[in-house]
């Protein structure tokens, strides 16, 4: 494929190198003369100094035969225009834009830019994954026995909501050691303690049963990823 990368910053540079390694024909365009010079030193004749939004330069760069255009400058407006002009004037089949403000995804989609990539959104997603609203955070691995202590926040739609501890079928050698309710009050669960949404459960489990425990405590009441809770292990 012939792939044109617009923007010769760090993203553009590493992207171009990877694409070359994968065997694609690549051109990197950078309008800033200093950056362009640096990238030419590193990448040689696959770089071109020039404004990737300027139609005459785009023509010269061979947008007309490009299979894909990837706009990765630091400015969302430039990335938008590169992709729009590539599609409207040069009929480039695929245009990918980096977006810096994740909210811009909406306007890019509306304007027909196939794919947007947002580092900000990706990092936010990672952070959200780390938050205890998402199942099972390993807290501590107990020495020797292959046991670990994990924490899980019970999701709203979990099948265990409203059930008594004794009615929950836990994987082998797993037990719920502590429940902290939404007000932050810790309780040692008894067999008739009822689990509520938002409870944080500290559980002890064998390392190999971690996934099974996760599915028991977080699977949706009806169509969870692991099916109805009652079918687990019965």
């Amino acid at each position: 494929m012939y792939i044109i990368v617009v923007g010769g910053g760090k993203v553009g540079y590493y992207l171009a190198k990877e694409l070359v390694e994968e065997g694609h024909e690549v051109l990197v365009m950078e309008k800033d003369p200093v950056k362009a010079e640096r990238i030419a030193e590193e990448l040689g004749d696959i770089s071109l100094r020039g404004d990737g939004c300027e139609a005459s330069i785009m023509e010269m760069a061979g947008f007309g035969r490009a299979d894909m255009v990837i706009a990765v400058t630091g400015d969302d407006e430039d990335n938008l225009v590169v992709c729009q002009v590539a599609k409207a004037k040069f009929n480039v089949p695929r245009a990918v834009a980096r977006i810096n403000n994740p909210k811009n995804e909406e306007i890019f989609k509306k304007l027909g830019i196939d794919t947007t990539v947002s580092a900000t959104a990706a990092i936010l997603a990672q952070i959200e994954q780390e938050l205890p609203t998402h199942p099972l955070i390993p807290l501590l691995t107990l020495k020797g026995g292959g046991l670990e202590i994990v924490e899980v926040k019970v999701p709203e739609n979990s099948a265990v909501v409203g059930k008594r501890i004794s009615d929950i079928l836990l994987p082998q050698q797993s037990l719920i050691a502590l429940i902290v309710d939404e007000d932050g009050v810790p309780r040692v669960p008894k067999s008739d303690t009822v689990v509520r949404a938002g409870d944080e459960l500290m559980a002890v489990t064998r390392t190999e049963n971690e996934d099974a425990l996760r599915s028991v405590l977080t699977a949706h009441a009806t169509f969870g990823p692991y099916g109805p809770i009652d079918s687990q292990g019965r």
């Binding site: 051109l27 696959i46 010269m60 760069a61 061979g62």
Partner: protein, 150 residues
């Protein structure tokens, strides 16, 4: 004491058909001949990015062959033989530097025209790029003032 220039065996000369490049070629022949070396005359077809790199460029290739034939004649007149090479690349400067490294040549002899459009001697971008980037010795052969055109 040895000087680099006296030891040159393999020499690359970029030829573009200009008088200066043929001058450079003649010099390279004399140098290599002394050391029983070898001279590569290299012509680069620059391919516009609107076309794939391996596009068939017949008129350009014919032009290149013609210039390499002239290079042969120049060498012939000095009772020497050069190896002609026709390359197809995006950028002549890069291609020549790559070729010099590939062939592991001892020197590049580059001819430049005497041009002073702004009062200062101007060297083409290709020559500048080679000068900055090629690892081997570079000998610049500037044509005489007012002499020779293409």
């Amino acid at each position: 004491m040895e000087f680099g220039t006296t030891l040159l065996k393999t020499i690359l000369v970029p030829v573009d058909g200009s008088h200066a490049s043929m001058d450079a070629l003649a010099l390279a022949c004399l140098l290599a001949k002394r050391n029983k070396g070898k001279v590569y005359a290299v012509y680069v077809i620059e391919v516009a990015r609107t076309l794939p790199l391996d596009a068939g460029l017949n008129p350009e290739a014919q032009e290149g062959e013609k210039i390499l034939a002239r290079a042969d004649e120049v060498a012939d007149s000095l009772d020497y033989a050069v190896t002609g090479e026709l390359l197809q690349a995006r950028d002549a400067g890069h291609a020549i530097v790559d070729e010099a490294i590939e062939r592991d040549v001892d020197a590049i002899v580059v001819g430049i025209e005497y041009r002073r459009p702004l009062g200062e001697l101007q060297m083409g971008l290709t020559a500048q790029y080679m000068l900055r980037n090629v690892p081997c010795q570079v000998i610049i052969c500037r044509s005489a003032a007012g002499g020779g055109g293409a």
